[in-house]
């Protein structure tokens, strides 16, 4: 009897371990891939975030009023600045049209298929931020009903912030560049006076708020302050999206290649409004 109980106990422990291993496998795959939400999950997420959006309306109103009151102090300075900019706008518009035509011609010539001009911009509000500390996700108030699809690039006026990894009918999730997920590598080029240097954003230095680029030859000279933009390679991000500026260089663990630290102009801890780049149909 005692022997049977002992064997039963062994089986129970074995079953628990197997279940745990399966759950860990599911967790691992769900964290690594852009898993499609089940209809039930999507419905629950939409419902909770819709209620959240309603609750946020009065809060947003109060915050906007506070911001408005703060901005009033600075209004005359802004007015004079805008007036100056307005004087140049016709000239700039003409220049832009000329450049767009030139760009279209060059794109056709080089057979590029992933530049900014092919994208429409869709603005969205951040309605939920993952505060789990380790995941670096944002939830937006626009989903597949607004035309958002997986892997679309997400930007702010200060530069690229990440890509869409999950979409429901009314919401979508953005995985930030600051995510330590190894599947989140972004192909970038560093614009130096002599040439463009290509590399991959491979990690994020949380302590110093810097994006780390590796895979760069040790011979390449990279001046501080050089602009870093996306290459368009890989087909996820269009080319030419601002990522940041070079703030530091070093060597990798084996002292074979150069690592470059990039300071993003985006404050990843304080993002309220974003733009999703939709590929123009």
């Amino acid at each position: 009897m005692a022997k049977k109980q002992k064997t039963d106990k062994k089986y129970i422990i074995l079953i628990i371990l197997v279940i745990l291993a399966i759950i860990l496998g599911i967790i691992s795959s769900s964290l690594a891939s852009n898993r499609k939400l089940t209809p039930v999950e999507a419905l629950i997420k939409d419902s909770v975030l819709y209620i959240n959006k309603i609750i946020n309306i009065p809060l947003d109103f109060i915050i906007d009023k506070i911001d408005e009151a703060n901005a009033k102090d600075d209004i005359y300075h802004k007015y004079t600045l805008i007036k100056k900019q307005l004087d140049n706008i016709n000239l700039n518009n003409a220049k832009m049209l000329e450049l767009e035509t030139e760009l279209a011609r060059l794109e056709q010539l080089l057979k590029l298929n992933s530049s900014m001009t092919e994208y429409e911009v869709l603005n969205a509000n951040v309605i939920n931020r993952n505060i789990g500390y380790w995941y670096n996700n944002l939830t937006l108030d626009k989903g597949s009903n607004s035309g958002i699809k997986l892997d679309m690039a997400v930007i702010t006026p200060d530069g690229l912030i990440g890509k869409i990894t999950q979409v429901t009918s009314f919401t979508s999730t953005v995985k930030l560049l600051t995510s330590e997920d190894i599947n989140n590598k972004v192909s970038v080029k560093i614009k130096t006076p002599n040439k463009d240097i290509y590399g991959l954003i491979s990690s994020y230095d949380k302590n110093n708020n810097l994006l780390i680029i590796d895979g760069i030859s040790d011979d390449d000279e990279i001046p501080f302050g050089s602009t870093v933009v996306t290459t368009g390679l890989g087909g996820v991000f269009p080319s030419g999206l601002l990522v940041g500026t070079v703030s530091n260089t070093g060597t990798d663990n084996f002292e074979l290649a150069k690592t470059v630290s990039v300071k993003s102009l985006v404050d990843f801890n304080d993002i309220s409004y974003v733009s999703v780049l939709k590929r123009a149909s």
Partner: protein, 166 residues
């Protein structure tokens, strides 16, 4: 049961709102209200531990859907936290000071268990400083929330004569 449901749903909604209002790198102010709600609701299960664990797991799954987009991660972690809440409640009586102690313990456990799970599935590389800063940045705000929630739930349970263990 209505009180339990209300506490969990209000905590999830407040956590979501707080996450937008509070800048994420603000030290000491990271909200984990849903976890705090588990500690507050436990006495209202009147030693029905099985139901409490079921609710904990379900809350974890809901938390995954709303916040993390990971499947089963918090479902599993919340179950572990459920066990921790049961064990701490066996040794500590239910008063304001003990609720604060239990909140601190549960938050430390949450951070450690989640971090270990993320290490196990190869999502993270071990960094002790990161773990400690995630713990310290989550304590203060959640202690305040647990105190307010405990007092509010106590007041409501007394007013409407809802049974709970002490």
């Amino acid at each position: 049961m209505k009180l339990i449901g209300a506490v969990i749903i209000i905590s999830i909604l407040l956590e979501s709102i707080a996450s937008q209002l509070i800048v994420t790198n603000t030290f000491l102010l990271l909200p984990l209200f849903t976890i705090v709600s588990l500690i507050i609701i436990y006495p209202y299960f009147n030693n029905n531990n099985q139901s409490f664990l079921l609710v904990s797991g379900a809350t974890g799954l809901l938390y995954d859907i709303v916040f993390t987009n990971a499947m089963f991660l918090n479902g599993l972690v919340f179950l572990v936290l459920g066990f921790i809440v049961i064990i701490t409640n066996e040794s500590l009586s239910n008063n304001k000071l003990n609720v604060l102690i239990m909140t601190a313990l549960t938050i430390v456990a949450y951070r450690i268990v989640t971090y270990l799970t993320l290490l196990l599935v190869d999502y993270k590389v071990f960094n002790f400083n990161e773990l400690t800063s995630s713990i310290t940045s989550s304590i203060l705000l959640n202690l305040i929330y647990s105190f307010i929630l405990f007092c509010t739930a106590n007041y409501i349970s007394k007013k409407y004569h809802i049974l709970k263990i002490d």
